[in-house]
Symmetry: C2
Subunit: 571 residues, 2 copies
């Protein structure tokens, strides 16, 4: 019984569910539905799919996540960044596979789901940590720019080709500026203004800036746009025919070559959607002082995507905008998402004819307003002072994604972050330390007024000792001993060393040998427990010309008083 | 003037050069010549080149290195591993470029030289550190196995095709075992026994196991093999015609596509030859308590390879066998290498007809004896106890090089080592610490008998705080606070933290916020000087609900005595 509650968090929610909870959840669910319908249609076009695919992505996936998800308020459904990644993948692969657009997206969904489950099974959810903060912010900024550019043709009524990258598309757009459709621009600008005004002032009018009504702009402008086009009979691009009815259950096509081709893109989409969902979930949970379960999220998000695969939808993720509306509208439990699903289903069953006259320019405006808000460069100023390498990685991710595409750009940025990591630890900080007063504490002699002893050099290595830095450390320790001509003892303070690999071990042996030939004894102090155990398994402690000391103070007290040693390399 | 001495170490050597030095150097040079001639011819065939290419590799490169090299005893010339890598590269690229074997090798030489110079100019010699001890030993073992397998056809007289990898060639060999040429085998086995017996007993007979005469076996068996074939008129494969005379100066062909194709192989050869040369040079220098200059070695080895490129040779490196003979024969300065060059030149001018009857089976035996000695698995036992990940990398390099080839195998092993590094630091060691007696020192509570206080949890993070581990650390710190229900203060002991990136900084902010919401204050202690300066450039110290303490003892003394805090997230 306990196990089932853990595996199905909704069970725990529904025990103790009260009538008043349902009242709150239904209001939130209705608001959520109103916000979701136009967004879902807009993101479907962003992904290069028909309108209904976006609505389908709000049915099975939303139900599945509300049953399995560990967050009480996270809403899973169509999101802009996943849509962008789907569009890029479909654009790349569809021509080689007889333009099987929808087949490709459902395979992507299934692969994303399976990959998330695999991460859970293999306990490898930690792999998402490779996407560091600067990589993610750079990627999100780039994705936002790409999305806005992708909406400009619909917004202006200028038809352009796909183009190789963002710059290419912008060039095409500017060179065809003469084809600007004034009607599309008028609808687009009006819609933009409408959404923005409602977001900015509707809440204030209700006495609460964050009132859920401030998020309903997209629905109002969608209705207004549709009505205008229908009544005036304007000749602009509209959504057109949307088939009525719920999606049929269908298996994604099984084509091994296509599966193989899509796997890298699916892996990238899986990582990005998981990170997006998990970080939104964490933010929501911390507001109500709860936490979410990373493993359960992998299971739930994986299942939601598998559900999307079988119902003709496209990859889904946790949505920040929908989740915020859900919270602001007073949702108490995932039941609000189920109410929203009813709204979407009703739309699909009875209201699809209304989409016929919904202009693309309005959808473009809805997307642009949603996306402008996620562009954020404000962290860069602090990063510039704190860690310039991260600013570099941010712009590498940004530029890489804009110029080379999502996958290549992300891989480039992650690879660079790893190379930086190796490079950084290959140039470790090494400090000659001295005693701070009578304290028994040892600190960097260049930073503190410390006491040192001519025949003992105590040196602290502030880094793990391993292949990338072993040679450097050896050189620098020998150079330090060259400067301390009188010193007959080198005490290597190991307080910051957590790990030594075999390259580091060989280096210590060689160093011990070299120092012995100069009549200098090598001692280690403050070796951490785990490392001491591991070193003990090798012959090193016995081979050392000097000793292992628990504290640097003990080492220096003993050695400073001792006569020059008879140094023997005990190898 | 000073600068020239530094740039041309030979100038320093020749000032103060005495007649007695020249006596020693000439003897060593003559012995070196005797050892080098058969080896050079054998390695040329190993590289898939004509015999004279091996001898040419002992002229210009050897002269250039003796003038520029910072090691007094290192001998640069043809080596087995570079020959193997050249053979692999030529085999891969020659078919696509109209079989321009020698053109390809001279381009490789030039590229290797230029790359080594580039490493020097960019100060990037440290890149060789990426090839860790286990990667190098795994690679050397694999290369030795490949080289032995490559000699089996000549040794047995069985002709086989190139084959895809080592296993494939062995299969071919065994399936054609019926074609075994008894004469070739007889010559091969006799040569093998001859070289081995001389290596084993000739030195002992002279009263010194390491007497240089023990290295002259190859010359004796080469002469004996040649004489036997000539006198008995045996029908085995022999070296055949070798053109007499010194190499002509020639430019490597300039074919941009070919240059591009060869660049990755050249980069790998450059790294491997540099590491080989540098580690041999370091070993020799440490014996006479001197050191060699890494930058000057890049310059000298680069120049030696450029010299090889213009004289029809193939990539050269520091040779362990030749350098040992040189030292054992009493060489005092690089002048011995110049004497050796005279011997090689004399051979090329007047003795090439003698090679006509030198059997390939004898050359194969010479290579096999030289190579068996470098196979070494003895370090694996200790590595298994000390660092299993390194044993894995060793076998990955070994298996990768055997199965996928030199470049792919090395890249796979280096990549894996880096992933291990990231993975390792993504699961950092975190210890709850307590005070050790009255010492003011804090140690892991599970390892030492320590004093702790119920309202303060002091936790030491034994790793840098950055993107790969920030989420993990946050989770584990919160889990620790869950276990210490009474604790109102978390003191994060930063003694082992050398670096925090922006992902880590964001995590500290989030942690501070989360803990504040539970009425727990977050304090930092023992923050290193450089890190404290960097943190100071951000708002973090002011945002913390707690304080920064110099020592953990100070923090715990103050906090243990204080009442429960009014915790405010000062953000």
């Amino acid at each position: 019984m306990k196990y089932w509650i853990h595996a199905l968090p909704i069970v725990d929610t529904l025990r103790g569910y009260r009538r008043i909870d349902f009242a709150h959840d239904s209001v939130a669910g209705l608001v959520l539905g109103v916000v979701t319908v136009p967004q879902a249609v807009a993101y479907a076009f962003l992904a290069g799919l028909p309108a209904q695919a976006g609505l389908y992505a709000c049915l099975a996936p939303m139900v599945i996540y509300s049953v399995l998800g560990s967050s009480r308020q996270l809403i899973v459904g169509p999101v802009a960044i996943a849509a962008l990644m789907v569009a890029a993948t479909v654009g790349e692969h569809a021509p080689a596979h007889s333009d099987a657009y929808l087949g490709i997206t459902t395979i992507l969904c299934l692969q994303v789901g399976i990959l998330l489950w695999l991460l859970r099974l293999l306990g490898m959810g930690g792999i998402v940590n490779l996407l560091s903060h600067p990589v993610i912010t750079g990627f999100v900024n780039a994705a936002a720019i790409l999305i806005i550019i992708s909406q400009l043709p619909a917004f202006t009524g200028i038809a352009i080709g796909r183009g190789d990258n963002a710059a290419d598309r912008l060039t095409q757009l500017f060179s065809s500026i003469g084809n600007l459709d004034p009607v599309a621009v008028a609808i687009g600008v009006t819609s933009l203004a409408g959404v923005w005004l409602i977001r900015r002032y509707a809440g204030l009018a209700m006495g609460d800036r964050d009132h859920p009504i401030s998020r309903t702009g997209p629905m109002f402008v969608a209705i207004a746009g549709t009505a205008t086009v229908a009544i005036l009979g304007l000749g602009v691009d509209t959504v057109g025919f949307v088939p009525a009815g719920l999606p049929a259950f269908a298996l994604p096509p099984f084509d091994p070559l296509l599966w193989l081709d899509l796997a890298p893109a699916a892996a990238m989409i899986a990582l990005v959607t998981y990170i997006e969902s998990f970080s939104i979930g964490t933010t929501l949970a911390s507001r109500e002082r709860s936490r979410i379960d990373a493993s359960q999220e992998l299971v739930a998000l994986g299942a939601a995507n598998v559900g999307a695969a079988f119902t003709g939808a496209y990859p889904v993720a946790g949505s920040f905008s929908k989740s915020s509306v859900n919270v602001a509208a007073g949702a108490r439990t995932p039941v609000s998402a189920l109410v929203c699903v009813v709204v979407i289903a009703a739309t699909l069953l009875w209201m699809t004819p209304l989409f016929a006259n919904l202009p693309h320019a309005t959808l473009a405006a809805i997307i642009i307003v949603a996306i402008v808000g996620i562009i954020d460069f404000s962290m860069l100023r602090e990063q510039w002072r704190f860690c310039r390498a991260d600013v570099f990685v941010h712009f590498l991710a940004l530029g890489g994604v804009l110029m080379l595409g999502v996958e290549a750009g992300l891989l480039l940025a992650v690879g660079t972050a790893i190379v930086q990591l190796v490079h950084r630890s290959s140039r470790p900080h090494i400090a000659v330390v001295g005693r701070l007063g009578d304290s028994g504490h040892f600190r960097n002699v260049t930073r503190y007024d410390t006491e040192t002893f001519p025949n003992v050099a105590a040196v602290r290595l502030d880094e793990n000792l391993y292949f990338a830095n072993a040679n450097q450390v050896e050189d620098r320790l020998l150079a330090i001993m060259d400067r301390h001509e009188e010193a007959r003892h080198l005490v290597l303070v190991c307080s910051a060393i957590n790990f030594i690999d075999t390259t580091g071990l060989e280096m210590l042996r060689r160093l011990n040998h070299t120092l012995a030939s100069r009549d200098i004894a090598l001692h280690l102090s403050e070796v951490k427990g785990r490392l001491r155990d591991r070193l003990g398994s090798t012959g090193l402690p016995g081979e050392l010309s000097g000793n292992l000391y628990v504290t640097t103070d003990e080492a220096v007290r003993e050695l400073a008083a001792s006569p020059a040693p008879e140094v023997e390399d005990n190898r």
